[in-house]
Symmetry: C2
Subunit: 411 residues, 2 copies
């Protein structure tokens, strides 16, 4: 354990953003341009201002003055670690106190933007509990897992252009659906709008076309993690997805949390990867495999409905990265790969409403007396998460990814 | 018909790039930076040089000096049409002849780059003949078309980061495959490497999240078309694709032609859209539906193996765009949506080897006496295409999209 670091910044008890965290985002205040900041307590530290004052290095290109993290992400692990150390020093030491304090803005006055220009977005399907639940619900007469499930981390490409930052309103999508027994599909607003609580990983360092990345090299490429809500219209998806997979049922919006928690901040969250049987093919093996103990919490209209444990995922982020690139596919700065719905073994650990309400058979009862099978207009979903902090027994947080459902647009 | 325009540039007979075409690309010559050019005959017209000389307007941002077309594409239809008119005048008239002539470079000395920074890449599946052939080959005991096929243009997202320009070597991908009857998958180079001959459409003008685009508004958003070879590892794809669709079987590389042929240049290629039964839902209808008469040609090692007719596609580009956005998904400048494999009703019109060689049952015989079921290392595939030229009975061309298979990489 490294020594506990303390900061002169006032960090409220239970804040997701103690000095051990230092997640990166893009913020603006009234009348100013979006730029890179780091969250500390209930404030945001303006890294562009620190760079302009000569207090932190942001390279020849001025990475911290940009409206996305991409330029900083492309700098690689050494630059990420140097920045983390420097920011820790500035917030823990007394040198340059006044200049650093002047670069702090209350989070309440900041607008948070999509932190990363997303290059490609891949969504995996790596929770065995989720895959089994979905299999039991949708294909009750078959084996819950498809034959390939335990041999590879199943994934597909989603729409990068509709990845939005937390807080962006989610307009209920329209589309085709066909109910069982109907001869033809009908068109209209989705009636089975759902969430998927996930953890997503942001690629910083690209890889060359034709060259695979080993599972153990994750930290050389991946900068950090965000929370993901992969909004899903189950009715649209069910009608469209054979044979080429989800398309419009997913592509209307995917929300991510505004703060990217670095892998360095998650160093104490590493836990043993779950046992895998059958043993994966060599390219999916890792000498030192690890999973992450991230505890998610899903709230619907401020009422906690689920606590999915990320540590229960079957496939690790390293394996996902190795699989994604084993065919020679290259990585780009800004690539996002998400875990797939995080569901644990217990009913109260499920990361989607289709599982929580078992496809409508067991509606959720909310404190206001209403019931939910899928989302209604006006519903707000917030996903938060915490993980063990480096250095002591406390926890760091991801903040939240939040979205409110707006009625379908008629035009 | 508009009057025939003639140019003082020497255009060889049968050139794909007469003055009626004027496709856009990104080129460089030795020691110079990539910039925007237009192909004319066997030369490329340097639009950045013309803009620097004050002979053409490229906006405050200098769109023609950029290494991608994206800034020009974002300018919209009025800017596209103004540029086309101006370039036509410069190449047809005598004013500024010397300055324009000085901006011409032989194509043989130019390096052609990926013309567009691809935002999202969507691949459709819109040839009925292709879908039926694949259904008969892979699911011989079922109806060849899935129940949704005639109700919506099936599509999925591909990997934008591995869209490469024609000429980029294609390294045979490795991956998991499981043969029928095998208990477990094996890992290795794909043994069923295939092509898919397609036409792709490049989006210039973005759309707002939550707002759909009508089929009839295609020309307000789409700048032009390219040829696409969606390389496919059939064995990897077959094992991975249930339930979330193609992933590594497609994501290792997708090649596009270097020249973007504008919709204005394709104005004379418009033909009636094929009849559709059942009648599509209202959002897929268009008061003035049209398809495009683009004649593709697929050559394997310089031997023509197929002539797929794009006019035979079931779903039109307008319908693909309307479907893609009906759920509120936004468009970005640089989005690419491809048609899916173009196959016509005749055996010699099929756009993939799995169809042409009927899953290995009818190998192709090449002039050197060798046979092909799928691609071998060293094979070169070239897809070319022509379409009726505006103004007279001649034809314009797309140039080609070409790729040569390199052996699988062992690392």
């Amino acid at each position: 354990m490294r020594p506990v670091v303390t900061t002169w910044v006032d960090v409220p008890d239970g804040s997701p953003f103690p000095i051990e965290n230092l997640p990166y985002g893009v913020f603006s205040t009234e009348g100013t341009s979006p730029r890179v900041g780091v969250a500390i307590g209930d404030q945001v530290l303006d890294l562009a201002a620190l760079a302009a004052a000569g207090l932190i290095d942001d390279g020849d290109e001025g990475a911290f003055a940009r409206p996305t993290l991409n330029a900083f992400l492309a700098g690689g692990r050494a630059a990420w670690q140097a920045a983390r150390e420097r920011i820790t020093d500035l917030l823990a030491g007394t040198a340059d106190h006044d200049a650093v304090a002047a670069a702090l803005h209350p989070l309440a006055t900041a607008t948070l933007h999509l932190p990363v220009e997303i290059a490609d977005y891949v969504d995996f399907y790596s929770s065995r509990y989720h895959a089994e639940n979905i299999g039991r619900i949708l294909r009750p007469d078959s084996e819950p897992l498809t034959p390939n499930w335990k041999y590879l981390p199943i994934g597909y490409h989603g729409r990068a252009g509709t990845v939005v930052v937390s807080g962006t309103p989610i307009v209920r999508p329209c589309g085709q659906r066909r109910s069982p027994g109907d001869a033809a599909p009908v068109f209209g607003p989705s009636t089975r709008l759902d969430i998927e609580a996930e953890v997503g990983f942001i690629v910083g360092v690209p890889s060359r076309l034709g060259r695979r990345v080993a599972a153990g090299d994750l930290c050389d490429h991946v900068f950090g993690a965000v929370l993901v809500n992969d909004w899903s219209a189950r009715d649209i998806q069910a009608w469209e997805y054979v044979p080429l997979g989800p398309f419009l049922g997913k592509s209307f919006a995917t929300s991510i949390s505004p703060w990217v928690v670095t892998l360095d901040a998650l160093s104490a969250a590493r836990v043993a990867a779950p046992a895998q049987d059958p043993r994966p093919l060599p390219y999916l093996q890792d000498d030192d495999p690890w999973a992450l103990d991230i505890a998610l919490e899903v709230a619907l209209n401020d009422h906690v409905v689920s606590r999915p444990p990320f540590s229960a995922m079957y496939w690790t982020p390293g394996q996902q990265l190795a699989h994604l690139t084993v065919n020679g596919a290259s990585l780009r700065t800004g690539d996002l790969f998400a875990s797939g719905t995080v569901s644990g073994p217990s009913p109260e650990e499920r990361g989607s409403l289709i599982e929580l309400a078992w496809n409508g058979a067991s509606p959720l009862l909310l404190p206001d007396g209403s019931r939910r099978t899928f989302l209604e207009d006006g519903d707000t979903v917030s996903i938060t998460a915490t993980a063990p902090a480096p250095g002591d027994g406390s926890r760091i947080g991801f903040g939240s990814v939040t979205g409110t459902i707006e009625p379908a647009s008629l035009q």
